[in-house]
């Protein structure tokens, strides 16, 4: 098959023919031959494009450049400029109707500009249910190459050389994992794909399985030859019905096309693949637990060694890789290790997909080269904090195993090692952005609630430890925190990290550790002042209207479910504390920032220390002080 550098598409619809497109084609043929470009540039006649008024129209691919009203006499200039000098001829270029600038192009919008698509190469481009459309975009070419032209070692060497590290979170080099397993002798080996995307706030894998299921299957076919596996499973969460449906259809089609199953592409290799539905246990993201689950048992991790490379599923050598890892294998095989390494950093090569969510303007799935600063992802791609006037507070990475990264570390490059150094982890790629209205203690409580719930119960440090930490955090957020709690938490963190068997327990303290490390003053203010400055912890907050700012618009009064806000129109309003349930509705609704959050009233006697009052001055101005004092008095009666 000949490879052309460029395709010139000339419209041969009735309209364009009438305006002379065939003459332009002839002129092009002559000019291209004259320049000796006939092996590089191919001229193709196409059907009507519907823009007959601007014909003849010529489209050049790649580059997606469109020329309009091209005349035979324009051809020499066009060939000279575009194909020899490589710059499009502006005066012939197609102009969007009306104002050309009205619709921004991809590289003018930061959300798209900073992204490079490898994993998501077919994102939104193909029908996931059509194997033909996948094939049309180079699909299964890499599988063919690996099965028919490459040796097992060559495949492993290419993957190793690419430097790709597992995208499930821990970042173990994929090529090494494959090599270990390829060397284990056994009558049966297994290749598993981890689609049990359990981190709350992460949905990269779901999206890949839904949008491009064949990319995962192809990666697995290649991997199966590398390690010598003849049977594989894709383990998918039951919460992802659409992904399951599309994977099943893709597997069926691939089997029928001879791209899976027996004697794939007549290469003599067999690989049988099935979807295995998870049943909702976060710990099954851990490899040994996942294998137990496929065996039909409780998904509990076991000690390693023996490593799965020697004894995995049904005690046979097994490799488990993440969805995103498999989706990158085909392009690596097709384009080579050096191509892969051309993006990213030395130790973290290639690209990474992140699920960008939370208090951010552009929620979405983004793929960026490794090493790009967090700030670029959050401010350029993500468009910054979504709520007007609110400040960035932290970004949570790695879910329940990860941590919060504060503002001053936003220039950290995203690669495995730099993220680890902050105390968070790369994880599977969930990135939840939080603004100043999020309470860090309550966030830590949320994650501990998650891990305490999901702990499989095998090891006491994890089962009991996370529970004790959770109880302590609940106490702190409900006003029962006592001096020394933070130290107790830190002690527990160290113990649980050191003594848990699997990744779940070892990383469970991370959300607490990072929030204490970067937001310790919030813990202190919850414990000592009984004051949650974000108002998230209801018991530790009171709400006051700053009369100096209030315009009397009445929005808060209408929104208040308790009818606890009174005031004349255009006059400063007031909150009746006895009725207030601290729901924070008024705070969210006020456009002027006149609602100030003070310490919890219940604890006024114990908690209204001088420090709290002094802080209230800083935050709420004189009105808040006056009220805080009043509250203090009330409490003492």
């Amino acid at each position: 098959m000949e490879q052309y550098r460029a395709h010139l598409m000339i419209c041969a619809g009735t309209g364009c023919v009438a305006s002379g497109s065939l003459k332009v084609r002839d002129a092009l043929d002559v000019e291209i031959r004259k320049r000796g470009l006939e092996k590089e540039v191919k001229v193709v006649l196409t059907g009507c494009n519907g823009f007959c008024a601007k014909g003849p129209i010529i489209a050049v691919h790649p580059g997606e450049i469109f020329y309009q009203v091209v005349k035979p006499e324009d051809v020499p200039l066009l060939v000279e400029e575009h194909f020899i000098k490589g710059r499009p001829v502006e005066k012939l270029m197609y102009k969007m109707p009306a104002d050309k600038k009205a619709i921004p192009v991809m590289n003018e919008i930061p959300f798209f500009k900073h992204q490079v698509l490898r994993v998501l190469r077919n994102k939104g481009m193909i029908d996931p249910d059509s194997i033909e459309e996948y094939i049309a975009r180079d699909g299964y070419q890499a599988a063919a190459k690996a099965l028919l032209e490459m040796s097992q070692q060559e495949i492993i060497d290419t993957v190793k050389g690419s430097g790709i590290r597992g995208r499930g979170g821990a970042g173990f080099p994929t090529g090494l994992k494959w090599e270990f397993t390829s060397k284990s002798a056994a009558d049966q080996k297994y290749l598993l794909c981890n689609g049990d995307e359990g981190d709350p706030g992460a949905f990269m894998d779901r999206s890949v399985m839904e949008a491009d299921p064949h990319s995962v299957i192809e990666g697995m076919v290649i991997g199966s030859k590398a390690i010598g596996a003849t049977k594989g499973y894709i383990y998918v969460r039951a919460e992802y019905p659409l992904a399951v449906e599309r994977l099943k259809k893709a597997i069926k089609d691939a089997n029928e096309a001879g791209l899976l199953g027996r004697n794939i592409l007549d290469s003599g290799y067999d690989f049988e693949l099935d979807v295995y539905l998870g049943a909702g246990a976060f710990v099954c993201g851990e490899e040994t637990a996942l294998m137990r689950s496929i065996e039909g048992q409780r998904g509990m991790p076991r000690p390693r060694p023996p490593f799965p490379a020697h004894k995995g599923l049904w005690d046979k050598p097994t490799v488990l890789n993440n969805v995103e890892t498999f989706a990158q294998i085909a392009p690596i095989i097709l384009n080579g290790a050096d191509w892969y390494k051309s993006l990213g950093t030395e130790k973290s090569t290639g690209t990474k997909v992140f699920a960008l969510t939370g208090a951010i303007t552009n929620v979405g799935l983004v793929e960026v080269p490794m090493g790009i600063p967090l700030r670029t992802i959050i401010y350029d791609i993500g468009g910054g904090i979504s709520k007007k006037g609110k400040k960035f507070k932290a970004v949570q990475m790695g879910g329940p195993s990860g941590g919060c990264i504060p503002e001053h570390l936003l220039d950290t490059p995203v690669d495995f090692d730099s993220i680890n150094a902050t105390g968070a982890i790369m994880g599977s790629g969930g990135m939840v952005v939080m603004d100043e209205d999020n309470c860090m203690v309550s966030l830590a409580k949320f994650f501990l609630g998650f891990t305490a719930d999901e702990s499989c119960g095998k090891c006491p440090p994890c089962r009991v430890g996370t529970r004790v930490m959770l109880d302590t955090l609940i106490d702190i957020t409900e006003g029962r925190g006592k001096p020394g709690d933070v130290e107790t938490l830190l002690d527990l963190c160290e113990d649980i990290k050191a003594t848990s068997l699997c990744g779940l327990g070892q990383t469970a303290p991370n959300p607490v550790l990072t929030t204490i490390k970067y937001f310790r003053e919030e813990y202190e203010s919850h414990i000592h002042d009984k004051w949650c400055k974000t108002g998230v912890c209801r018991d530790l907050a009171s709400f006051e209207i700053d009369a100096a700012i209030c315009t009397g618009c009445g929005v808060c009064a209408r929104a208040c479910p308790q009818k606890a806000i009174t005031g004349e129109k255009k006059q400063p309003h007031k909150i009746i504390q006895e009725l207030c349930i601290q729901c924070r509705t008024c705070y969210d609704r006020c456009k002027f920032g006149s609602i100030k959050i003070g310490p919890g009233l219940k604890f006024a006697k114990a908690g209204a220390t001088n420090a709290a009052v002094a802080d209230a001055t800083a935050v709420g101005g004189p009105a808040a002080v006056a009220d805080a004092t009043a509250v203090g008095n009330r409490g003492e009666k």
Binding site: G278, A281, Q297, W314, T357, V432
Partner: protein, 301 residues
């Protein structure tokens, strides 16, 4: 409810079917009437109460599935058995989903018809009048619980078990299919799986209790799931959950006394772009203001 007091309606567009049912059932002492199609059946039931309806699926105008749907909505206490010459997996599945008790494949012998009728009547009796109005405390063993499931489902479950029996590690898929069919996992279903798969009941239970997907409590007609993923949490999903609990008067994992709604929390549905998210049955609602939590639920009343 005695056999003699029980009223059966047989719906079929062929009068010969109704006549033969009449001979067999009346001969056995049942009170039975016939209707020559879905429309006639509905008209009859508008006027009179029947306890058990046997219906054909393929009928002109108002077909069997439509009739079953109508029954489910308008006469939820009526037992339904289907008579069908086309027991395709899909129609059976659809009918099972609509809560039929059993099915009779056509052509049938009098013995089969009587057998199915007896089982169906037994089934209706075990549910007892008022069984539908179980209170929220139905988890407590003292309360009457629907601890069985219709014979048609048992037959389906046996088929699933037979298919998976010799595939190692297939306990979880079998349980998933069972729950898909019945809606939850009653003890009787677990026993059946244990026996059929030759796996100790304790082991079956250990797996069921480990995975959050499985539930041993029945769900309401509409299952409400509140996503508590990080993105939803950050956007105050907790308040939505609190408002729903207060609005429905039940806790997480419980069912309203009228069995209309059940409430569950779920770990991230991966639809973070729409956070905060609530899913009712298969409908996803995104970008919810906590204040309006109950409005979503009210649509399903």
């Amino acid at each position: 409810m005695t056999e003699n007091g029980l009223k059966i309606l047989v719906v079929d567009d062929e009068s010969i079917v109704i006549r033969s049912c009449e001979i067999v059932l009346k001969g056995a002492g049942y009170h039975m009437e016939g209707a020559l199609g879905g429309r006639e059946a509905i008209l009859k039931m508008e006027k009179e109460r029947y306890d058990l309806v046997f219906t054909d699926l393929k009928m002109p105008e108002v077909d069997g599935i439509t009739l079953i749907r109508w029954l489910r909505n308008s006469r939820p206490d009526t037992g339904i058995v289907i008579l069908t010459g086309y027991p395709s997996q899909d129609t059976i599945k659809e009918a099972l989903g609509l809560g039929i008790i059993d099915y009779v494949p056509k052509p049938f012998t009098p013995a089969v018809l009587l057998d199915v009728t007896r089982r169906a009547v037994q089934w209706l009796e075990t549910r007892k009048p008022g069984a539908f109005a179980i209170s929220a405390e139905m988890s407590s063993p003292a309360e009457p619980v629907r601890d069985d499931f219709p014979p048609a489902m048992a037959a389906e479950l046996d088929k699933v078990i037979a298919h998976y029996k010799h595939i190692p590690g297939s306990l979880i898929p079998v349980l998933q299919r069972a729950q898909e069919m019945i809606g939850w996992l009653p003890v009787a279903a677990l026993k059946r799986v244990s026996k059929g798969m030759n796996i100790p009941a304790a082991e079956v239970h250990s797996v069921v209790s480990f995975y959050s997907f499985f539930t041993m409590k029945p769900r309401g007609d509409h299952n409400i799931r509140v996503c508590l993923g990080t993105a939803c949490y950050v956007k105050r999903a907790e308040e939505i959950l609190r408002n729903l609990k207060e609005g429905l008067g039940i806790g997480v994992g419980e069912v309203t006394p009228d069995r209309k709604f059940s409430l569950e929390e779920v770990r991230c549905l991966g639809a973070c772009g729409l956070a905060p998210v609530v899913v009712v049955d298969h409908d996803t609602f995104g970008g919810i203001d906590p204040k309006n939590s109950m409005e979503i639920v009210e649509k399903y009343r």
